[in-house]
Every structure is written in C-alpha cells, then in structure tokens.
C-alpha cells in the first residue's frame, strides 16, 4: 500500500514540476495578450495652461484644457488580419479630443495603431495612420510590452509622426508598485496642423499652410510603467506648441499651447486598480505558478521518499520477526500451531 502511495506521489511531483515549467515557457508567451476588443477612455487635464486666441493671434494664460483620449479595439479588423496573416494583432482606433475652457473643441486627432497582441511589435496593416495620414510606426505607443525591461525603447510620437528613444531613468515606488520611469524629449520640431481645427476658427490647415504659417512642437513625455503588464500607471507631458511665421514677416512666434498635461486623479486611480488586478493574473503565469508548482512537486517527492522509507522499514521489521519463528517451527513437531503462524504477511 505504501509503495502504491509513493508511486502516486512521484507521479504528482513530476506533474506539478513539469506543469510549472510549461506554464512559463509555453503557456505564458501564448496566452498573455492584449485583448483585441477593448474600449478605454482616459481624461487628462492641463491646468493653468497658455492657449492661443486666434482672433487676437496671442497666447492667453490661465486656461484649463481637457483632453479626452479614447481607444477602441477594432476586433473585426483584427480578425480579418488574423485570417490573412495568421497573426494575432490588435487594431486600436484612437481619438484625442481636446476641449478648451468653454467646452468647445480645440482639436480632434484620430489614429489607427496596429500591433502584435503579444510582443507589441508594430504591424503595418489595417489603415495604420495618424490624422488620416498613412504611415509605418516603429516601436511602441501608449503601452509598453509585457515584461518590460529596464532599458530604452523606441516610442512613437504622433505629433512628429516619427519614433524616438524613450529613456529608462530608474526604478521607483509608486502607489505601492515597483515601476520603471521612462522619459522622452522631443526637441522643437515642425509638425503638421491638425485637420480638425478649433470650432471657432474658420480657417483650414491648407489655408494656414498657404499663408506660410508653421506649427512647431516640443514635449517632455514621462511614463511610470508597471513592468509586468507594460501598462503605464501614470503619465505626464510638458507640452509646448508655437505658431511661427515666415521670416520675412518679422512676427514673433505665438504660443498655441503650453502646459503640464496630467491624468485626472479619478482616471489615474481606476487605471491603477485595473493594472493591479491584471498584473496579478500575469504574475500567476509568469512567476508564482512556475516557481510554486515545482517547489510543491519537490515537496511531494520528499513525501514519496518518506512513505517509501517507512514502508521498507516496516517490511524489514516484519521480515526480521518472521525469520526466528520460521526457524523455531523447524524444531517443532508437525501439528504444533503458534500464534504467529496464523498471521498473514504484511502487505508492502
């Protein structure tokens, strides 16, 4: 009986040890993925910002600007791409909608961002674009890869339509999580005007271009990233834009926008709660179970040795007890019955 128990324990030990390893090397890289059908919105604010008044062609300080960013996973487009290429992709239809003090639109820029659901490598399909302009991204945008490493990444900047390094600047504690801090600086760069101009401005980007006006932009982008999920739990931008005029005009640049853009606290809290719940699931597959199950297997193997050892010792004792009785039997007459003779041998 003990021998059978030992065999079961050995089988279970092998099961848990191998299953733990398989979870890390086989299941984790295939199962942990960005869902292709998610919808998410976040609200950001720039308090005390400077904002252009086009009627006066001057920057007006102390403005409150609100940015509503939405991301909608286009599951149909992702499935179509999967049928075409066999690859699991995520197609995000994004929109950045910017509102001024009066609640009127200042701009709205749509984006289509396509990437591999697991590695987050950019994928060039499905109408990838920014503000209707087709392009090919390099690097990441919005989110970092699962198992983010403490190193620099290429981060796509939608204003310049180009990627630039986002530098790893250290590990910090934020809201009870260990996070990686990344920072990207985009130097002053000429960028296109958004196609959707402010509600109260009756001029098109084409007309602005014809006048020789230029839009220039610089920003310092900061991310605090949970390395397990690659999701930023906080982000800020020191964002500056200028309207510049032809050199012949002699006009000084005018600030279009200047401010510190931060996530509204309630959205930041909900983002943090979401990351905490998701990172636990990912950690289960990447760390907890791959380490815990083999350790449990080692424990079971130890129990198997103990059970087997006890069984063998018990068998040896019984064997030792039965040998003198057998010798004594030889000296007895036939027909003599001892108490031990009626006892069956202990099963092993």
């Amino acid at each position: 009986m003990r021998h059978r128990l030992s065999l079961v324990l050995v089988a279970l030990a092998a099961f848990f040890a191998v299953f733990g390893v398989m979870l890390r090397v086989w299941v984790y890289p295939r199962v942990v993925a960005v869902p292709d059908n998610q919808y998410q919105a976040v609200v950001l604010e720039a308090k005390d910002a400077t904002l252009i008044d086009y009627s006066r062609m001057a920057g007006v300080p102390h403005q409150h600007v609100t940015i509503v960013q939405t991301l909608k996973g286009d599951a149909a487009a992702a499935e179509a791409e999967k049928r075409r290429s066999g690859r699991d992709v995520v197609v995000w239809d994004g929109l950045s909608y910017v509102l001024g003090n009066d609640g009127k639109r200042l701009s709205a820029i749509p984006e289509v961002y396509v990437f591999d659901a697991r590695s987050q490598e950019p994928v060039h399909c499905c109408g990838e674009s920014v503000d209707g302009e087709a392009l090919s991204r390099i690097g990441v945008e919005y989110k970092f890869p699962f198992d983010t490493q403490p190193r620099d990444y290429q981060y796509f900047d939608p204003q310049t339509r180009a990627s630039a390094p986002i530098h790893y600047k250290g590990t910090q504690q934020l809201d009870g999580l260990t996070v990686y801090y990344f920072e990207q600086t985009i130097p002053w760069t000429r960028v296109p005007f958004p196609k959707a101009m402010p509600d109260n401005v009756a001029i098109t980007p084409v007309q602005i271009d014809a006048l020789g006006y230029q839009r220039w932009y610089t920003t310092v982008r900061k991310f605090w990233v949970d390395p397990v999920t690659g999701a930023p739990i906080n982000g800020e931008e020191a964002h500056n834009e200028q309207l510049r005029f032809p050199a012949a005009s002699g006009m000084a640049p005018v600030t279009i926008f200047s401010g510190e853009v931060k996530i509204r606290p309630d959205y930041r809290a909900s983002a943090l709660a979401l990351v905490k719940s998701q990172r636990t699931l990912v950690l289960m597959l990447s760390t907890y179970l791959p380490w815990g199950l083999p350790l449990f297997g080692v424990g079971l193997l130890g129990l198997a040795f103990v059970a087997e050892g006890r069984g063998r010792r018990r068998a040896e004792v019984l064997t030792a007890e039965s040998v003198p009785l057998a010798d004594a039997d030889e000296d007895r007459r036939a027909g003599d019955v001892t108490a031990a003779q009626g006892t069956p041998a202990a099963p092993l």
């Binding site: 089988a11 099961f15 299953f19 979401l274």
Partner: protein, 44 residues
C-alpha cells in the same frame, strides 16, 4: 521501473494539459492583461 513510469506519466499529463490550456484560454481570455492609456498629446 514503476517509479520511472509514474514520473513519465505525470510529466506527460502536465505537457498535455499545458498544450490544451493555450487554445482554451484564447486571446480575450481572463489572463489578457489590459493596456492603459496615459500618453497625453495636447493638440489645441
């Protein structure tokens, strides 16, 4: 010999279970980590 067979049986079962778990989980399964937005491009 029986110990070896028991260990192999346990290991094979683990491999099979892991292989089956992947298609069962699917892309939008409960382990899919949801991303977040924090990029803040202000475009007034």
């Amino acid at each position: 010999m029986r110990v070896l067979i028991a260990a192999v049986a346990g290991a094979v079962l683990a491999v099979v279970l892991a292989l089956v778990a992947v298609p069962l989980a699917g892309q939008n399964g409960p382990t899919s980590a949801k991303p977040l937005l924090t990029s803040a491009p202000a475009r007034p």
